[in-house]
């Protein structure tokens, strides 16, 4: 029997109401369901407006809070239009609408990026293994793709199924992007609902992409003890030919690693990476090394250690050719998203390509299986000629001093530094041969190079910082290779303690490296949370940054804490695609612990997560459009998020008024006023102290039992006292009854509550829900 989507929607209510089962093979948009057809939720494959009712529930509580970056709109030729002082543009758009529109646009860019990335991965994997290759993630993972199940209402069994999920996403994405055209949407809430839809799609395509590469390249399938791999600039052996891969797409790296293994060159050649490609390469082979997160990109390129630079897609410095030329490294572009104006050499033989690149310094190879040999052989050849000059790529100390003496102390480097670091002052000291300040910048700077392009005297500031930094600091750390999804068994163990509040929270560090004060702060945040037995998970550049701190015994957090999804566990999920396993874990809790059916049941599941699962995301250095899509994806699932100070330039947060919320209590069968938890859906913190305290606060949920709440309150209060030397100023909002007061702090809190005139709540919801 073949039922089209329309027919299915038609019969859904009937099936639900009469508990009918239809036997046989049912195919929905080409998906074969061989088991009994049991539609469980109302929204399989939701269209743009299908989940609007859920979004509006969220937005009604967490209002969009806009901070325009520009007074104008310049997207069409009616304009530029001045939208300041309450004015409207020629199309009738006003300032708030324009912000909402731009946020949607950013989310679409981010989602498109992940979708295209996943599409490319799937095509590569299908070419290798075939469309019917089964998706099997080991015996400990039965719910193989919780996001796909919930959103699409189907199980994915083969790689071909994944392709169809992508088709759905690509179609939806087209609708969403079109809504940003002039004269399309006229309501802020509808723009936001679409942005949330884009965020959800982003989550979906990330899951598809990550599963494709896990299956296709035999990456860890949720194993707890993935190998520990080396991380840091100093882990790379300069005395060998070095291949550096930058970007997010693992495919070229796999060919490089394969070729090396085939020729037995693992000892002879170093393969390392920056950004997510590095994380994926280490999931593919433990011999690959990680230079660092994105923040180390320009520094490492400038150091000249890399003989061959292979770029794929996303977050790569677009002036890579110019930078590589300075050090004599050769560049291989491998992705249609980043061709860099280079001639396509794909049709040539590998040896011909090598010759061309040797002559021209760079080339584009879109046929990835040629990249393996070309990169490796090029590295061996180029290394010979570059060997002697590797040490000379950066200026020496005497030269740095001489350069510093050319500085006119205009101070513009400080002004263009995104974090207003004291660049000028450190150069002024370097004039006298004092380099400590420059060395300190090495630890905090993310090498964007804006100071350099501003400098009147054309001082190579990044190179100077890198050289001095390398002499003063050794960046040599460890990180556990990305493990991918969380196992069902782990969820079974922690589901109850998370939902009841015995585990104070699950904190997911995501996002890029636009940190206000260097990578180390992220590690220190994670450390504080791990000591307090939170579950800490991380993905993307954040997971690398967490590794960039050592205790006095030289141990990183990955050495100190287990990789299991349990209280006090530190999990590297993998690259930014792997952020999907955060929402994935939350969904699995709903399914495994609460027996909530997933298929087509988005709103129910999200409602459950929002009210019960104490998970919080932290995107401390969120920079890219992908990061805003990831964040918005978390938000639609009801997972609150904290961003760093730079990320308010995304223009929009979702903030509540901080006063009592309303929910419906399914048990008591009535609407109820409750404590405002979680207080915001996406908010920002100015510094890491505030971020830590906000994490503890946003882990609270209306459904916490008293024991759990008192534990969460304990951490909120003690963190506040540790970092601000005072009680949290809004504590009374989160203590519902005396039972929520932690025993250890009883006297203090009781006194505080008395001062505030606090009164216990008369009723607490047993089964809080927004869906009423």
């Amino acid at each position: 029997m073949r039922v089209g989507r329309g027919v299915k929607r038609l019969i859904t209510p009937t099936v639900q109401s009469k508990n009918l089962k239809i036997k046989g093979n049912i195919s929905i948009m080409g998906f074969k369901e061989e088991e009994d057809f049991k539609p469980k939720g109302p929204n399989p494959m939701p269209k743009v407006t299908d989940l609007r009712y859920w979004d509006f529930k969220l937005l009604n509580r967490y209002h969009p809070f806009y901070m325009p970056v520009c007074d104008m709109c310049c997207l069409c030729t009616f304009g530029k239009c001045d939208l300041g002082k309450g004015k409207k543009g020629a199309c009738g758009i006003d300032m708030k609408l324009q912000q909402a529109r731009l946020v949607l646009l950013a989310c679409c860019i981010g989602t498109a990026c992940h979708a295209a990335h996943s599409r490319h991965l799937i095509e590569a994997v299908i070419e290798k293994l075939g469309r019917d290759h089964p998706i099997h993630l080991g015996n400990s993972i039965e719910i193989e793709a919780p996001i796909v199940r919930t959103v699409m209402g189907i199980k994915v069994k083969t790689l071909g199924d994944l392709e169809k999920v992508l088709e759905y996403c690509e179609e939806q994405l087209t609708h969403l992007l079109s809504a940003t055209h002039t004269g399309q949407e006229g309501s802020v809430l509808d723009f936001e609902s679409k942005a949330l839809h884009a965020g959800m799609l982003d989550d979906l395509v990330r899951e598809v992409g990550d599963i494709a590469q896990i299956v296709g390249y035999d990456m860890p399938k949720g194993e707890v003890d993935t190998p520990v791999v080396e991380l840091g600039i100093n882990c790379i052996d300069r005395n060998k030919p070095v291949i550096l891969c930058i970007g997010h797409n693992v495919v070229p790296s796999t060919y490089i690693i394969d070729y090396m293994e085939e020729k037995g060159l693992e000892e002879e050649i170093e393969v390392c990476g920056i950004c997510c490609t590095a994380l994926d390469a280490t999931r593919y082979s433990k011999d690959a090394k990680i230079v660092g997160p994105l923040s180390r990109q320009l520094m490492f390129i400038r150091s000249g250690v890399a003989d061959v630079i292979v770029v794929d897609e996303q977050c790569i410095r677009v002036d890579i050719l110019e930078e590589a030329k300075k050090t004599g490294s050769v560049v291989i572009a491998t992705n249609d998203k980043m061709c860099l104006g280079l001639e396509d050499l794909s049709h040539l033989s590998e040896d011909e390509i090598i010759n061309r690149i040797l002559r021209e310094g760079a080339g584009l190879i879109l046929d990835e299986d040629k990249v393996g040999k070309v990169a490796v052989e090029l590295a061996r050849i180029v290394f010979k000629s570059r060997r002697a000059m590797k040490e000379r790529c950066l200026p020496g100390l005497e030269e740095i001093r001489a350069l510093a003496n050319r500085c006119t102390e205009c101070g513009w480097c400080n002004r263009v530094c995104p974090n207003s670091f004291p660049v000028m002052e450190s150069i002024v000291e370097a004039k006298e041969g004092k380099f400590e300040k420059l060395a300190d910048l090495y630890r905090r700077c993310y090498s964007c190079g804006r100071c350099e392009s501003e400098c009147e005297r054309k001082l190579p500031l990044v190179s100077m910082i890198t050289k001095v930094g390398e002499l003063y600091h050794t960046l040599e750390f460890n990180v556990r290779a990305g493990r991918g999804p969380i196992q069902d068994l782990e969820i079974r163990k922690v589901g109850a303690p998370i939902v009841l509040g015995d585990i104070p929270g699950v904190v997911a560090f995501a996002g890029c490296t636009n940190y206000p004060n260097g990578e180390e702060e992220l590690a220190l945040m994670a450390k504080e949370l791990l000591e307090r037995k939170y579950i800490v998970v991380a993905a993307g550049c954040a997971s690398m940054s967490i590794g960039m701190w050592k205790d006095e015994d030289g141990k990183t957090l990955y050495d100190k804490y287990p990789g299991e999804f349990k209280a006090g566990g530190l999990i590297n999920l993998g690259p930014c695609l792997s952020n999907c396993h955060v929402s994935g874990a939350a969904i699995k809790i709903a399914n495994i612990f609460a027996k909530l059916p997933l298929e087509g049941n988005f709103a129910q599941v999200a409602d459950y997560i929002l009210n019960r699962v104490g998970a919080v995301g932290v995107a401390w250095g969120a920079m890219s459009q992908k990061a805003v899509a990831i964040a918005t994806g978390f938000n639609r699932w009801g997972i609150p998020l904290i961003v760093g100070p730079h990320a308010i330039k995304y223009r929009r947060l979702y903030l509540s008024d901080g006063e009592d919320f309303q929910v419906y209590d399914r048990k008591g069968k009535k609407v109820m006023e409750i404590d405002p938890t979680p207080e915001h859906l996406i908010t920002a913190a100015e510094n890491f102290k505030e971020c830590l305290c906000t994490i503890a606060k946003l882990c609270m949920r209306p459904n916490d039992i008293s024991k759990g709440r008192s534990m969460k309150v304990y951490h909120y209060v003690t963190l506040y006292e540790k970092y601000f030397n005072c009680m949290p100023p809004d504590l009374e909002k989160f203590i519902r009854t005396e039972k929520d007061i932690p025993f250890m702090l009883k006297d203090k809190i009781v006194e505080y509550l008395k001062e505030k005139g606090w009164k216990p709540r008369k009723e607490i919801p047993q089964e809080p829900t927004l869906l009423y």
Binding site: F65, P68, C70, D71, M95, V416, L653, L655, E686
Partner: protein, 145 residues
Amino acid sequence: MLGRNIPYQPTAGTNLYHAEVVSTKIAVNMVKRSRRPLLVIGEYSGEAVKYLEDLKIEKVYTPREMNLLALIKRVPREGYDLVMFIGITYYYLNQGLTYLKHFSDVITLTLDGKYVPNAHYSFPNMEENEHLEAIKRFRMLLDNL
């Protein structure tokens, strides 16, 4: 010497509407004329904070007492007509202020030694000691009222 009314971070402006530069005297006068002023003190005020701490103006310390953006969201509802800021991360404050600039009638005044374009009124760019003198003077003039 910096241009006195060029954003300290040169890209911090929003193209059309930028803060009017004010001197301490005019700032004091604004405080005096305000029905209900609020002073928001950040963590990076340095020595200047000494001269502001015991002022008889409602004060909020951010982030200790309140998140900056939660505060910005709240200010229009609470009936403040003048909000002053000092010692908050430059780009963070500047970006957060656009909410009040575009979506409220609240007048904002920044007392940092760096010109903040997205306030309504801002001190000009100043050297460190010059700024401290300005704050001392601000304090003295307020006391003399």
